[in-house]
């Protein structure tokens, strides 16, 4: 049996999320180690453009399950669609992005097929004919090395860790697969517009976070302005969220989001253990804090001991100059 790798790209609002292309990179390497080809399955409603896009990443085969019942997320319908493709193609490894979609669908399909699922992985290698993966646990306070006792196995890959594959190869064939079951007892019925969040925290290249040092909701505007200049996502410490200065969905830490951007700027954040857990795998960390003993400086690559209200506005102006020169 060929050790094919099946990736599950994520189509959202008519295009593929970036993590979909990162999955191709990971799948190519695993396929090389196991000796197999890379296939993809695109699920959704009117997702031909997405299927064509992933077909151009140099993979061998694309399956497309296209149906009106896959317009909004419905766990049972998506599970049935993906389980059908897995049963038909018998992959050795199924790869998801460790996004809300990938983690939720992966768990349900894993239970239906009776497979192990190694969630939210940041490293992988092929060893002894199986997969050995690394994944952060305790929100990054520790790293676990997990072995799949046997194949097949499912894996979700944390976004933003691996480089995305480019989509400029000659296209792979696309095979359409019928949806076998479209009855849903639970499903998303409408999307909700919320206060404009320009950049998703989990996928952001740059995150600017504020903490207690922002003093109040108005103070937090200084943090947001810097984020805006950088095209960054806005994050927050639990202290800032608990104080009600900013929406809890921006919280970074063990009980909030775990992020690993290229650049993480922590402004007025002391660095409680549970916050550090959520951001210390960022590539470059900047800390601005009045307290020179704040634990955040222990993980920072660059630190400024100072008041964020004095430092951030100057950074903001300087960055505008730098970005204008680009």
């Amino acid at each position: 049996m060929a050790n094919n790798i099946l990736i599950v790209p994520e189509a959202r609002d008519g295009s593929l999320r970036k993590v979909s292309f990162e999955l191709v990179t990971v799948a190519n390497e695993i396929a090389q180690g196991l000796g197999g080809a890379v296939h993809a399955v695109v699920l959704g409603n009117e997702v031909s453009a997405s299927a064509e896009q992933i077909a151009k990443t140099g993979i061998a085969q694309v399956y497309q399950v296209d149906h009106a019942a896959l317009q909004n997320f419905a766990p049972e319908v998506f599970t049935a669609a993906l389980a059908d493709v897995i049963r038909k193609t018998q992959p050795a490894v199924v790869l998801f992005g460790a996004t809300g979609f990938g983690k939720e669908l992966g768990a349900r399909v894993a239970a239906r097929i009776g497979m192990g699922l190694v969630a939210d992985c940041t490293g992988y290698k092929v060893e002894g004919g199986t997969l050995v993966l690394t994944r952060p646990i305790y929100a990054g306070k520790a790293l676990a090395t997990v072995k799949a006792k046997s194949l097949p196995v499912m894996v979700s890959i944390r976004p933003n860790i691996f480089p995305p594959a480019s989509a400029d190869a000659s296209p792979a064939p696309i095979e359409k697969i019928e949806l076998s079951a479209n009855a849903a007892r639970s499903q998303v019925v409408e999307k909700v517009q919320k206060e404009a969040v320009a950049v998703d925290l989990a996928e952001a290249k740059i995150v600017v976070s504020g903490g207690r040092g922002a003093k109040n909701a108005e103070g937090f505007e200084t943090v947001k302005q810097l984020a805006n200049t950088l095209g960054a996502a806005v994050g927050a410490s639990r202290a800032a969220v608990d104080a009600g200065w900013i929406d809890y969905s921006t919280q970074v830490g063990q009980t909030g989001k775990t992020v690993a951007p290229q650049l993480y700027i922590a402004a007025g954040i002391s660095g409680a253990i549970q916050h550090l857990a959520g951001m210390s795998s960022s590539k470059v960390i900047v800390a601005v804090n009045k307290d020179p003993d704040a634990p955040i400086f222990k993980v920072a690559d660059y630190g400024i001991v100072g008041d964020l209200f004095q430092v951030l506005p100057v950074m903001n102006e300087e960055l505008k100059k730098v970005l204008a020169e680009k």
Binding site: N72, F73, P75, E76, G100, F101, E104, A107, R108, A110, A111, G116, L117, P136, I137, Y138, A139, K141, A142, L143, A144, T145, V146, K147, S150, V153, S186, Q187, V188, V189, V192, D200, L201, I206, Y248, Q254, G256, Q262, L263, I273, Q274, A277, V284, I285, V286, P292, V299, D301, Y302, G303, I304, D307, Q310, L312, V314, M315, E318, L319, V322, L323
Partner: protein
């Protein structure tokens, strides 16, 4: 109505995780109900306050997990089932789900609530697996839960990857809690005293009719080979000078040295 809440005992989030010989050192850890499970407990209590009924906690964990279960009873849950058997240990998300599903098959419920993930292993898959094994619908990552008047369906506001949507489900279902669902209460003194008298029933693999080969370490499809501390970060640079000078120098370093802007 009967609400069952799946809870897990995890190290307090303010705990530093110590690792020795490739394993997490559990001595001296202070244990809590996983924070997302706490939202689930709180939501169950609020539902029962509104609709009357019973809240039962269902916890898979070692003998010591009883202390954590008592904390949930102190918050107001009526009783608890402790899935307490060494045969359950050393498993993975798949075997944990098999045990929880087998327990739920013996129970009466209108709704099952759980946290969207436990904050130790961060798997975010056990509750959803349980739903699939029991052929129940599920709604994941919920920040607002409303039941229909006949309590036959639920309307849920979800928060996923920074986006919000509304999902509907028939009941019974498994619904998982995301931060924002509610503000969990603190236990009252009366609650803490009362919790000592509330029943906790132990179930072992044999009570659930489970073949020991399908659960715990022997049934697991995954094996944790070792646990390591995260790689240490190289020491950073403190940028000297007054705020304006330091800020300008920082931007220069980010642009020219780190090349991230």
């Amino acid at each position: 109505m009967n609400v069952v809440v799946l809870i897990k005992r995890v190290p307090d989030t303010e705990t530093r995780i110590q690792i020795k010989d490739g394993k997490v050192v559990t001595d001296g850890i202070s244990w809590i109900i996983s924070p997302y499970d706490e939202y689930a407990v709180e939501e169950a209590l609020r539902l029962i306050e509104k609709y009357t009924g019973k809240v039962t906690l269902l916890c898979l964990g070692p003998v010591d997990a009883k202390e954590t279960i008592r904390k949930g009873l102190a918050l107001g849950a009526d009783d608890a089932i402790h899935l307490n058997d060494p045969a359950f240990e050393g498993g993975d998300a798949s075997t944990t789900a098999v045990v929880l599903a087998a327990a739920l098959k013996k129970m009466q419920y209108d709704l099952v609530l759980a946290g969207k993930q436990a904050v130790d292993e961060d798997n975010a898959q056990v509750a959803i697996r349980v739903a699939e094994l029991l052929d129940l619908p599920h709604v994941n990552s919920v920040i607002k839960l409303d039941l229909s008047d006949d309590k036959k369906s639920a309307r849920c506001l979800r928060e996923v990857d920074g986006d919000r949507d509304i999902a509907e489900s028939s009941l019974p279902a498994i619904i998982t809690a995301q931060q924002g669902l509610n503000e969990p209460r603190y236990p009252s003194l009366k609650g803490i005293m009362g919790a000592k008298k509330k029943p906790i029933t132990d179930w072992k693999a044999s009570d659930l009719g489970l073949d020991p080969g399908t659960i715990g370490a022997s049934g697991a499809k995954l094996e944790v080979v070792r646990v390591d501390p995260p790689p240490a970060r190289p020491p950073g640079k403190l940028i000297p000078g007054d705020a304006a000078t330091a800020a300008k120098e920082l931007v220069r370093l980010l642009h020219e040295e780190a090349k991230v802007v």
